[in-house]
Symmetry: D2
Subunit: 351 residues, 4 copies
């Protein structure tokens, strides 16, 4: 209830801090009998891992996952799966200065106001590092959805700051560190990022996530709609300020005669709905957009206050992603997978 | 689990269909000792009620609420509050034609695929009529938040189709049927709607909701963030396709030096965060935007299929809102109130 | 969260007070497509109904149930089922004397201490009258279990105060108002009860409930075991002070060589486990025992205090069951059905 | 939902198998600011630890706990607390024989029927070893209850097979390995156990747990009563077949004039209620009794079947507790603490 669990029938309970001894999660509700190895999970963790290009944080974390339970002789047993990732590259520096100051745009002050205490080391619990266990759990969800329904969940960056990135091909995404679906834009993205680092500033991004190959019928009206749960999961991702499905905010200016997807014996003629009607999957692609804010950790000095309420100037040095959106794609995929498996199991319960 | 409950410590369990005998809900977790009368709830129901202008559905429903339990001598007792609204204006016409056809943009087909059965009368369970119990529960939440914290929750329409509606004043909202905060735009809105009805078409809208006067510290990182729960509730509202907080999708093109809200001893200097950092309230205004799709029920003929999978043309007659966004404001306010009281109680549990 | 919901995948949210306008519940998670009429539910309500013999309370309540939603053309639609029972025989007498006094053995004082307010009319929310909605929901669960798995859930009284009631036959239970499985004991029970009423006192009882014909594999180790959930539901029934499964408290003096049920190709050779091993159903009969305390409402004067903390003598007049155990059998059956359907659906989710 | 989480506002999510690499849990909802060290938890784990006398299993496990998160500079931060216990004394022997056979009284067959797969090593997930994380979490709950309310939670063995153990003093419990409150009975218990081991048999036991020093008002009527949640937690403990509160099964033969606890300005005159009325704490001692079945692992040969359904004789060798009740006391204390803290937080939420 204190908020560290995602999902009802397939649930992930997350623990850890950025600079504590370890992070991890317990995955509860994975159906029995699925082949599962640490490597199956590691593949996804490696996609999210820091330090893999000059455009992301240089913190070196292998993010090696250990399966502690729930798997016997290479198969899931239906019981809770404990996953552990040891932190390796904690810095032993003194955090007392940071501990006393609230960084603008960060959760420093809200944690302080909520709990009266906070772990300031690298953002503590509010660090995006805690998305690693989510990605690990999502890897299990992805595998099950793929094997059981042939569902494919993929994402990409469609905008980096002012630069629109057209969708060219799923194949181009893995060829560049931005998850850009059009490799020809990459030089422009790199130049933008290089200048941004020189400026000591950060930038926002837009991420698209798509699930293909799932049946109609997933989702629970009324309140626990499939799109509501997707919005919940995505808005719960660090730095996300907006979530949309299908036509999203463009639907505001649409007429019903344009927006409503017509049906023929061969299927829907469009997908403004983004694969969800009345909170239930239509069987079309689920299409989700995320707006990700610029990283709050920047070298440019900013006004803030300390715990005593006195004015201070804050400059955030250290290792940071200048665009958290760059590493957000595998995380958003994981979140979508986690919501989909949860609703898949819910649908199985009642059918 | 079948999805009809919203909230954890303050929860609403909703039941009913558009043309069944009654709709209603059970509100569980309302703190004891608050003065509460049916009239306190009726005021909010009347704001959402159909038939109050020519721009909304002409169905005549008084939406009179009866409190069945949980209140003794005018005060809440801390036990479950049963709320009942009898449907009055059901039409006794034959629904067999509609029952056999899937209307584009509606949940007809997804309900069918999910359950293998559906109540076709007026959309059955998927009707926006089921937002009435949500509004009733939200009235209780609003009252408690107002009395306990002085929280004020208000909303308005900021865009109707192509027409932007500037924010002029909270006072102007109640003066027109659109919840427009600038009454000078109303003639333009009316003309647009009148033409739309003639066309037999419908239109989308954008709604803003704002909560003012709540303390810092509400929200549970990690997953059950305050903004995640708001996104969940809002995306769960019929016809919503996008939700954003604070700067929303504009954050994509923002730099960190612009987006991050600076702090001074006198407070924050801006509110791009929309009142939530790290999933926890900052004490600033909570600002939420909703994208609402055009009504799927239009008179214009559209392609679809029937249950046998054969092609049919569908024209939706009857009584419908040509812009569901017009009545969405009080519903969105109710949803925000329900999420806020839930997190207020959660925070009380742990402090 | 405030406690008025039972079950996870098949859940019942209960509302109402003994002397309020109505009691009822919302049943969420009933699978779609099952035939269901008000009469299906009424049958079970009539078994629990007051006023049916001189040995139970003389309050006259028809307990007529109205289905408000979730059923269309005689079949469940998979959406929330609203059930309403209007209270008919509230007494309009002045409760101010009772309102000021805490009756020994009742929840008067604990409600007061918890909420700072309470509805004193007939026990308000703490009245056993609130088991009626549970029985109504249980009727739906029973029907589904019976149709889907052939499960039969039945109970009986095995002890009334000092009188042991041997199990003779399921057929004898319906022939007497005590749910006694041996009608030859009934005269002794009647004589005992008649004397008890003259004494103005009350008495405890023991109830057995048995579920037959369910598959192995229901239950979720570790913590949400099938037996744990059964214990939860039964101990949550008014007046229950003890719950046991299978051999129950007799297992204390048993040796492993006696207790452990041996297996053969033809099945288990005994059922000390009561149909549950490791929290999971074995496929044998589920056997549950309940200890029910004597009614707290008695005519004999007892010491207590009032709200001012002053000593008072309390004599509880009015209409009361001298042995709440007599009407407990259909309620315990309903509770067992509700737990079983919940776990049946959970098992369907994961298999 | 798959059952591995206990508690709502203070929750424990448990993972691990008897012979896997590690066991542990995530504690979610511990209020911030409480001093907490590994040693605070270790003390309770050591009370449950195997191998501490000749009357319990000789498996050597130090059960050393590592705090992975949720504590900063010696204080809880309000975020999830990850606890890890590495298994040390797994045996590398071949389990293939056991894997193929269902041991009578064990969960071998039910796991098999539920999941279609099971980890047979030492009982896998169904092993009582998984109570260690519960005890670790309970240590945190105990500490908070003690510091905040002065609540003391203690238990003892009141019966070992046929031997009744009178309550003499809380001080005598720590002086013997049986948690017997009367040390003079210990020689008799030791002689009984020594003979039992020679016989290759096992025995049941009865445990009492008592919570003293908690306020009135904890518990949520109706369904989530305090006693219902206690029954749930206790019946969920391995080998428990019966749970009672206060007078328990003795209430069956009691009259209301005897059972109902009278009140005076100085307090209650008796405690047949066991500290709970109407599901809410009275402020008196919470008194709970558990019936624990004899260990299913015995050397005496018993009839069973293998996975092929063929008859086999089973003799369970290896390291086992001949009376699981002996080590059950600290576990039952932990469970009671976990339920009480959960309801303490729930009450804080609403007051």
């Amino acid at each position: 209830m204190s908020g560290n669990t995602l999902g009802k029938l397939f649930s992930v309970t997350n623990f850890g801090e950025s600079h504590g001894p370890a992070i991890g999660c317990v995955v509860d509700g994975c159906p029995a009998g699925m082949a599962l190895s640490a490597q199956d999970i590691q593949v996804e963790l490696d996609r999210r891992r820091p330090g893999t290009s000059r455009h992301v944080t240089q913190r070196q974390e292998p993010d090696t996952v250990e399966i502690l339970s729930g798997v016997y002789e290479g198969k899931t047993t239906g019981t809770a799966i404990g996953l552990l990732i040891r932190n390796q590259d904690q810095r032993s520096k003194d955090y007392s200065a940071i501990a006393d100051t609230f960084r603008p745009g960060h959760a420093d002050r809200t944690y302080w106001e909520k709990y009266g205490i906070r772990d300031p080391r690298g953002g503590g619990r509010s660090s995006a590092r805690l998305t690693a266990p989510t990605v690990a759990a999502g890897a299990i969800a992805k595998k099950w959805l793929s094997e059981k329904f042939g569902t494919v969940i993929r994402g990409y960056m469609s905008q980096l700051g002012p630069i629109q990135i057209p969708f060219k091909s799923w194949d181009e995404i893995a060829t560049n560190p931005f998850y850009a679906p059009d490799a020809s834009v990459v030089p422009e993205l790199e130049a933008f990022m290089d200048q941004l680092r020189k400026d000591g500033d950060s930038i926002g991004a837009r991420i698209e996530v798509v699930a293909q190959g799932l049946p109609a019928g997933w989702g629970e009206p009324l309140y626990d709609r499939l799109d509501a749960d997707i919005a919940f999961a995505m808005m719960g991702l660090n730095a996300v300020k907006g979530v949309s499905i299908g036509a999203g905010f463009e639907c505001i200016a649409q007429r019903g005669s344009e927006h409503g997807d017509e049906l023929t014996p061969d299927g829907y003629l469009s997908n403004h709905a983004g694969g969800v009607l009345g909170g239930i999957s239509t069987g079309q692609d689920i299409t989700v957009s995320l707006a990700i804010k610029p990283t709050s950790s920047i070298r440019i000095e900013r006004k803030s206050i300390n715990r005593a309420g006195e004015p201070v100037m804050v400059q955030t040095l250290g290792r940071h992603d200048p665009c958290v959106g760059i590493r957000a794609t595998p995380i958003a995929e994981a979140l979508l997978a986690l919501i989909l498996i949860d609703h898949a199991l819910r649908q199985q319960a009642y059918r």
